[in-house]
Symmetry: C2
Subunit: 227 residues, 2 copies
């Protein structure tokens, strides 16, 4: 790990939150690798702050499950096992289904328009082939649906569950053979929400997750054999 870790003084956030976001990002992007130790003094020097904000950030990462604490030894980046990924995806499958179901009931006309735009945008961006943009368009699309539920707890939960998959998102999206299917699945979800057809929406959402699961599991096994 080299010194890509850089603090951005964007906001007037307390340092602990800045550190939290920084470390979180570093873990999710794989800059901090699973098993890597998070040593307070090193991080403090690296980020140019004292140990206090570092420790407080680690407490939050701990609860979020991104790092695990070993008593009297400190924190290290949590391992991603096939089991843990399976657990997450199992929950997400149910939660995403709830999400589209609620969206059917509660989505506003305005949000529906924006959802359509997001779908179209995704399709266009896929054609450009820019992975980063595609990932971003995908997030934007799902965000609209999650927000449409009006359930803040659900929003928070899905964010937390999604972050585990974050580092595999790229690999998944990189595989351009999947792009057609992605567009198709998004369209199915959109259509069923327009029709307020909860059953279909549920089904579509579950299929969407199942396919992601397949891709992620393939990726995980690939990494394993490579090692």
């Amino acid at each position: 790990m080299q010194d890509n870790l850089q603090i951005t003084m964007d906001q007037f956030l307390p340092l602990r939150d800045v550190v939290f976001n920084t470390l979180r990002q570093a873990i999710l992007t794989g800059e901090l690798k699973p098993g890597e130790r998070l040593m307070e003094i090193h991080l403090a020097n690296r980020l140019g702050v004292s140990r206090t904000p570092i420790r407080e950030a680690i407490r939050k990462l701990e609860l979020e499950g991104l790092v695990i604490m070993i008593p009297r030894r400190g924190a290290e980046v949590a391992q991603i096992t096939e089991k843990s990924m399976n657990d997450v995806l199992e929950v997400r499958r149910a939660v995403d289904a709830l999400c589209v179901e609620l969206a059917c009931d509660r989505i506003t006309e305005d949000e529906l328009v924006r959802l359509k735009e997001a779908c179209d945008n995704f399709e266009q961006v896929v054609n450009t082939g820019d992975i980063k943009q595609i990932a971003q368009a995908d997030v934007a699309l799902h965000d609209i649906i999650v927000q449409a539920t009006g359930n803040m707890r659900l929003v928070q939960l899905i964010n937390n569950l999604s972050e585990q998959m974050y580092r595999y998102r790229f690999e998944y999206i990189k595989d351009s053979s999947q792009h057609g299917r992605l567009i198709e699945e998004h369209r199915m979800i959109y259509d069923s929400i327009v029709r307020k057809d909860k059953d279909e929406a549920c089904k579509a959402a579950k299929i969407h997750i199942d396919n992601q699961k397949q891709a992620i599991m393939d990726q995980l096994r690939l990494e394993r054999t490579a090692r």
Copy 2:
């Protein structure tokens, strides 16, 4: 709030975890009331530790949603609104359904026996009328089902979602007119898991939550009008 807040040096846990558990418990039991400020120095004196473990505990409570942070003003116990409770219960309804569904697939013979015992035990304890014991038996029963899923993420999630309802559990259980229904619902869930009937299990779990929701909402409105 008087000085019921007491640290129990049960374990060799770091102080931050002891403080975390202590404050968590205090919030869940209502000893620390919604809106009450958590002032670090006061708590530190009260618990006989320094500010550092207090602060770290608060960071975890913050992420868990039990306290909210106001910049430059510190932490206070999160308000429970009808909306937030609704949000939680909405998620729990879906997650509990997933739970029994998975349990149908994965529960072991041994766990099934213990589940039966827990059902019977609950029935017996209800007859004693001891509220505390009833609550405990209820938790034990649900714990077996959640554990049977083998999904650690799900276990953690349900724990987190349950804690919001914790302080209403008593009121709900106190109402002895509900006891018959509770026993009935537990039995329905147990039976469908035995038969591996996922659909029925789901339905039963959802009904179980719906009834709790009703009771909790009644309770909340009662509190509101009382104020």
